[in-house]
């Protein structure tokens, strides 16, 4: 793995391969449409997942500008990638707030933000080993999977644009 940081000897994220079981829950996308998550994840596209919330002050905005920039680049390249953000603050994050959030980051079709019932969101977070009891304790996490893969690539830490692109390209090759 190439060093993703400014300093050549410093690594800003850790990479692991993990198996996850997607819970059978129905969530709301940013248009307020009900979506069965298990079916949504059953796709022949690469899926990249992160966890955000609407009023987050530090981690989420940086994750989301990363998604935004990545999406612009992959769209230009003609790539089809499914970007998924799950809200970790479902009490506050209505679909309308998620819609505004997506617009703020210039998200295009292909990037979906989910919110929903607190218990269902918790089920999703637990299934991806991303649950924290206090949302202020959440950490930067990006998880991706290729269409045929049964394992997910779990990237723990902040990613630069080139880190994300490199991991995506590697996933495609595998």
């Amino acid at each position: 793995m190439a060093s993703p940081s400014f300093a050549a000897d410093k690594q800003y994220y850790q990479k692991t391969l993990v198996k996850y079981r997607i819970p059978d829950v129905v969530l709301l996308d940013h248009d307020g449409k009900e979506v069965r998550i298990k079916e949504f994840f059953d796709t022949d596209q690469v899926i990249i997942v992160d966890f955000i919330y609407g009023t987050c002050t530090t981690i989420c905005p940086v994750l989301s500008v990363g998604f935004s920039y990545f999406q612009k680049k992959t769209l230009k390249m003609g790539e089809k990638v499914r970007l998924v953000s799950f809200s970790i603050d479902p009490d506050n994050d209505t679909p309308e707030i998620m819609r505004e959030y997506l617009e703020r980051y210039d998200g295009q079709t292909g990037w979906t933000i989910f919110t929903g019932k607190r218990d269902d969101i918790t089920a999703v977070l637990r299934s991806f080993d991303a649950y924290v009891s206090n949302k202020m304790d959440h950490y930067p996490l990006t998880i991706m999977r290729g269409p045929e893969d049964n394992q997910w690539v779990r990237l723990h830490g902040m990613l630069s644009a080139s880190d994300l692109m490199k991991e995506y390209m590697q996933l495609k090759k595998e």
Partner: protein, 612 residues
């Protein structure tokens, strides 16, 4: 008005680099759309995406090619424009600020701004694994010392020791020296602090010209450069507001619980003053932060129009650090506006008529009150319509009382949310005499309708029942009707749904017990339990928010302490749970839709607490 000529600031005090030399020459050389191939050079170059090539660095110092710009702002204008840059990410030109984050991700101010991480206060935040350092004037322009510094182990033996040795105080060097304007500009543009250390790449590297950089730095220099009013060496001054029209018993119940907090805080049970005098030097900052609390009671009387003047008089006499608790018989608007204008935090007033605003900052409410009931009803009906195609053609009718602000708040909540969710008209009927006029009655007589009746009088329901109207669903408010809810005509009960924006008692027995035991322990007789429970919760939260401030007595930082709180369900006996978050100003987010239980004076929920 103090006139400050920024020209002097730019040209003399603040010799900045020509950050946008290439732009002034006709274009921005920053590549906003770097290809993957270009990225591969990153390991060789410290930051290919950053604007390093645009900045002239000579012998470690930044040189200035374009700092002779003629711009003069008053002090106030510079702060206003700087604040817009800091909070909204908008340059003086109106364009969004541009930066690179995580080395190579281009970001615009419209996506996030300085205050997103560093907060309004500039005191920064901690979120998960990311620590955002203070950027307010007072902290930036002083050296930063590590608190609780330990001596870095030099040998293997030292590394294996259970305890790390603490260095002598004179051996502690600052983690970084004080910033100067020049080194601050370097940090903002290049991501390098005065020690030469590279700042975490999560901190954006901003691309802006000298003029704009000067304004941002001017703002940061003045951002919370002095402690807020309302605190001195020994005391933190709070006030609580009681408006005219509040029953004495309710005011007493609120005050008794708040005073118990003050008494506990001031009792020095943890020997705070002694520990501050004799504690080890590395904890002195924390120990010396202790302040006694003084609680003033600000009573507002007469017409609402005079309240502002009364508040200003109280404030002029005794400027306080924050308003805590408080209770109003009606709207909180006048106090809300005062708080906003004076940048005075107001924490958890007891009111069902808060100001509903997404932008206002300084008042933290328990809930949106009646407005929330209307909002949740709109969402519930939308969901039902999505599930049941037969509801599609059903008319939606909203009835509310002309002279009842509570009724109007619920109606406003419904209308606002309904309009944002649905492209369907609602028949609005305003009633004056507690009943519909004949003309109004005719409009709904033969309609298959969902009726929302935001009224506190049962005569309307008698009229509806006698007119033979049988709504598909009839929504009413449990907080408006109270116990009268259980006296509604039998014929309407089958279709009745009730908004209920509090927890059901049977689900909060444990929390209720906690509050009741606490009241007993503090010799406070059981009174209006809702009020006491809410103030108990405030007492529960206040120590955490005060402690978090340590010695940084800034009002913005105080209210940010609440923003950072973990969601609560244990200490609140009134709501199922309360959730917090940066900028979130209504901590109860839900309202049940419930039905009457057959043969009992009881409600059963038919929806979740939070309805999307």
């Amino acid at each position: 008005m103090k006139n400050i000529i920024i020209l002097i600031f730019i040209a003399v005090i603040f010799p900045l680099p020509s950050l946008f030399a290439s732009e002034t020459a006709g274009g921005n050389t920053h590549n906003q759309d770097l290809s993957e191939g270009e990225r591969t050079s990153r390991e060789k170059s410290p930051s290919p995406g950053r604007p390093t090539n645009d900045i002239a660095v000579e012998g470690g110092e930044l040189s200035c090619n374009a700092c002779h710009q003629h711009t003069d702002y008053t002090h106030e204008d510079a702060l206003r424009i700087g604040e817009r840059m800091y909070r909204e990410g908008i340059l003086p030109s109106g364009e969004p600020m541009k930066a690179y984050v995580m080395e190579d991700i281009p970001v615009e101010g419209s996506m996030f701004s300085c205050s997103a991480c560093h907060q309004h206060s500039g005191l920064g935040s901690v979120e998960g694994t990311v620590v955002t350092w203070p950027t307010n004037g007072r902290e930036l322009y002083l050296p930063r010392y590590r608190t609780g510094a330990y001596k870095v182990p030099e040998t293997k033996e030292e590394q294996q020791k259970q305890y790390r040795p603490i260095p002598k105080y004179y051996e502690i060097e600052p983690a970084r020296p004080a910033y100067t304007d020049k080194s601050l500009a370097k940090a903002l543009a290049l991501g390098e602090d005065p020690t030469g250390r590279t700042i975490d790449p999560i901190m954006p590297r901003y691309s802006m010209n000298d003029h704009d950089m000067a304004i941002l730095i001017y703002y940061l220099k003045h951002l919370n450069d002095e402690f807020s009013p309302g605190v001195d060496d020994t005391t933190l001054h709070f006030a609580t507001v009681i408006t005219e029209g509040v029953e004495q018993e309710k005011a007493d119940d609120m005050l008794a619980v708040l005073n118990a907090y003050v008494k506990a805080r001031n009792s020095l049970t943890r020997h705070q003053l002694r520990r501050a005098d004799f504690g080890p030097f590395y904890t002195s900052q924390k120990s010396k932060a202790y302040r006694k609390v003084n609680l003033q009671v600000w009573k507002l009387s007469g017409p609402e129009e005079t309240w502002r003047e009364q508040l200003e008089t109280y404030y002029a006499k005794n400027p306080v650090f924050a308003l805590v608790g408080g209770i109003a018989s009606g709207s909180w608007q006048k106090i809300h506006e005062f708080s906003e204008n004076y940048k005075l935090p107001c924490i958890f007033p007891i009111t069902d008529l808060p100001v509903i605003s997404e932008e206002d900052w300084y008042t933290l409410y328990f809930s949106k009150g009646y407005y929330q009931e209307g909002d949740s009803t709109a969402r519930y009906i939308r969901d039902q319509m999505k599930q049941d195609a037969l509801l599609e053609d059903v008319k939606v009718v909203q009835i509310f009382q002309q002279n009842n602000p509570r009724s109007q708040a619920a109606a406003r909540g419904f209308s606002t949310t309904w309009t944002s969710l649905m492209q369907r008209d609602v028949l609005q009927l305003v009633i004056k005499e507690e009943q519909l006029t004949d003309e109004q009655l005719q409009k709904i007589l033969d309609e298959d309708a969902i009726i929302l009746a935001w009224v506190d009088d049962t005569r309307l329901f008698t009229q509806i029942e006698q007119a033979g109207i049988r709504p598909r669903i009839l929504f009413v408010s449990s907080s408006l009707l109270g116990q009268a809810l259980f006296t509604l005509p039998e014929q309407l009960r089958n279709t009745l749904l009730v908004t209920h924006r509090q927890a059901f008692e049977e689900n909060k027995q444990k929390s209720r017990f906690v509050v009741q035991r606490w009241l007993e322990t503090n010799d406070i007789p059981l009174g209006h339990f809702d009020i006491q429970a809410k103030m108990y919760f405030l007492n529960w939260m206040l120590p955490g928010a005060v402690k978090r401030m340590q010695s940084y007595f800034y009002r913005d930082y105080f209210i940010e302490g609440f923003d950072m709180m973990i969601d609560q369900d244990y200490a609140i006996a009134v709501y199922p749970r309360l959730s917090f978050g940066p900028g979130q100003r209504y901590v109860s987010k839900g309202c049940y839709i419930a039905r009457l239980k057959q043969g009992e004076k009881k409600l059963l929920p038919v929806s979740d607490w939070v309805i999307h």
